[in-house]
């Protein structure tokens, strides 16, 4: 079993839709969680960083962590074509960062 499981998609939505991206994890040692956005032929870009269970909002993006069910989500409101990218969820501990396989998102104009 992978430590971080993520639906690879691909996921296509119309512009303006609310997008929900989800991951589950199995490693209880993860202390913090992140979402990265990766455009084609670019390095991953840190999008959201959360320590605790609950929600964290930043503009159109909301990260949600539920440690009791080991479930993490990223919501994108009013999605834009520029949001088209691969989204990677990450579990972090003192020793390492563990990436999911990524979900490819396309927002259609």
């Amino acid at each position: 079993q992978k430590e971080v499981e993520q639906d690879p998609g691909p996921l296509s939505v119309p512009e303006g839709a609310i997008v929900s991206l989800n991951c589950t994890y199995s490693n209880s040692a993860f202390q913090y969680f992140m979402w990265y956005r990766q455009y084609s032929r670019k390095g991953p870009e840190l999008l959201m960083y959360t320590y605790s269970s609950g929600n964290k909002e930043d503009g159109r993006f909301t990260a949600q962590v539920d440690k009791s069910s080991k479930y993490i989500s990223l919501f994108i409101r009013d999605s834009q074509p520029s949001d088209s990218a691969t989204y990677l969820c990450v579990g972090g501990s003192a020793r390492q960062l563990t990436f999911g396989s990524g979900t490819q998102l396309t927002v259609l104009p």
Binding site: K42, G43, E45, Q96, S101
Partner: protein, 111 residues
């Protein structure tokens, strides 16, 4: 603030040849990572440095891969000899603790 710099951006080599990648992390970041990303997959950790010491190299194929971080700043990753399955993007990232910041990566093609 300057980001993580990597070079070269692209490299094509024949199998059994050697190759080296270079990374300059963000100034002041103690932690440096090298990841391998195969097309369609998430990044896989190869090695993690804390300053110039190795924290985790459990997934580094040590028979062919080596890495060093001299003086706790720049780092090089070497592959010798390369195999076809080493074709991937090699990402360097640095962190002050917590979230990591990535460079653009080096795309390696082994033919």
């Amino acid at each position: 603030e300057a980001g993580v710099a990597q070079s070269p951006r692209y490299k094509i080599i024949e199998k059994r040849q050697s190759v080296a990648f270079w990374c300059n992390p963000i100034s002041g970041h103690a932690t440096l990572y090298w990841y391998q990303q195969i097309l369609g997959q998430g990044p896989k950790l190869l090695i993690q440095f804390q300053n110039n010491g190795v924290v985790d190299d459990s997934q580094l194929p040590k028979d062919r891969f080596s890495a060093e971080r001299l003086k706790g700043v720049d780092s090089t990753l070497k592959i010798q000899p390369a195999k076809l399955e080493d074709s991937a993007v090699y990402l360097c990232a640095s962190s002050p603790g917590g979230g990591a910041f990535f460079g653009q990566g080096t795309r390696l093609t082994v033919v």
